[in-house]
Symmetry: C2
Subunit: 161 residues, 2 copies
DNA sequence: TGATATTGATAGGTATGCATACTATAAGCA
DNA sequence: TGCTTATAGTATGCATACCTATCAATATCA
């Protein structure tokens, strides 16, 4: 039990598998049809509605090319609206529909509870430490990512409100 | 900076992005053509050679359906061999080629060094803590994964040698 | 031994994740 | 204003990741 099994890259990959799996199980339990990625997009839209796709992607560290398909599927399911921005005809403004808001309201608490289960092998204190370290590591490694989180964009949006 | 940005699931997803990105950068630097997943498969084969695909998948917690394509690509690049197991005609035994071994020898040290960079935002001590907690969490969450690591299979292989 | 269950692998389908390239539009600047 | 650059989005292609279904071969057990 050495080599890759103790490498950060591999451990992170497996944690990601576990988290995705628990999320999917939860959705099946709840009878909802949503992926982790789709949830993250909607969660952002609940806070910063009516933003364009590029901004949405920048706020959750998604690739520009990926977000299009995600929005496509959310739109097909009726959870979001997409329309051309009046002041910039290149951009598409995305916003939650009433149905999307209702879905989020239904699953928000269960999703939050499920997040704990990802780290169920850790004690309360350990979970706190893990999350703090993960946050620190992602902040430091953000620039190394292909689709970095755009803090400035987030800040300026928050300030605008 | 709240909600999803501090959820374990999202943090883990971003760490995974960062790790994958660093791995890819490294391969470009080294002039090699290998993905993180392909590397993990080869690293296992370096220790437990001539195992069938299902076993290989179980040892790195891959989905059975995914591993086929991974091996396809490794085989196309000449890094592994695949042949029908003499004692079980359903199974395909996979083994590194000389070329595969040479590649691993070239990249092993750089890959190990790169693993540190994934957590470069953390101090030495914090890295140690993070890895320990990640290992503990994956061990506990293993059963929740769609493609759990098969410890027994690994143990019995190790014992056989 | 014969029916059943299990297992190894593949096939087809959906959803990321990202590279590259291309179109349309906007912004900046000489 | 005309040119250049930057940006928003899409399209295409490759590589996971996993589901369900299927086929083939083996194992199990009545």
């Amino acid at each position: 039990m050495h080599t890759i099994h103790s490498m950060p890259g591999h451990l992170i990959r497996r944690l990601n598998q576990i988290a995705a799996s628990l999320f999917q199980d939860l959705m099946v339990d709840l009878g909802e049809d949503l992926t982790p990625v789709q949830y993250a997009a909607m969660a952002i839209l609940a806070e910063e509605s009516d933003i364009d796709q590029a901004t949405l992607a920048a706020l959750i560290a998604y690739d520009r090319a990926t977000i299009g398909g995600v929005i496509d599927r959310l739109e097909a399911k009726g959870f979001v609206d997409r329309r051309i921005a009046p002041d910039d005809r290149r951009a598409r403004r995305v916003a939650l529909t009433a149905e999307g808001r209702a879905l989020l309201a239904r699953i928000d608490a269960p999703v939050a509870a499920m997040q704990e289960r990802i780290l169920s092998g850790l004690t309360e204190d350990e979970q706190t430490v893990f999350i703090a370290l993960a946050a620190k590591a992602t902040a430091a490694g953000n620039a190394s990512s292909r689709a970095p989180l755009d803090f400035e964009r987030l800040q300026s949006l928050r300030a605008r409100q």
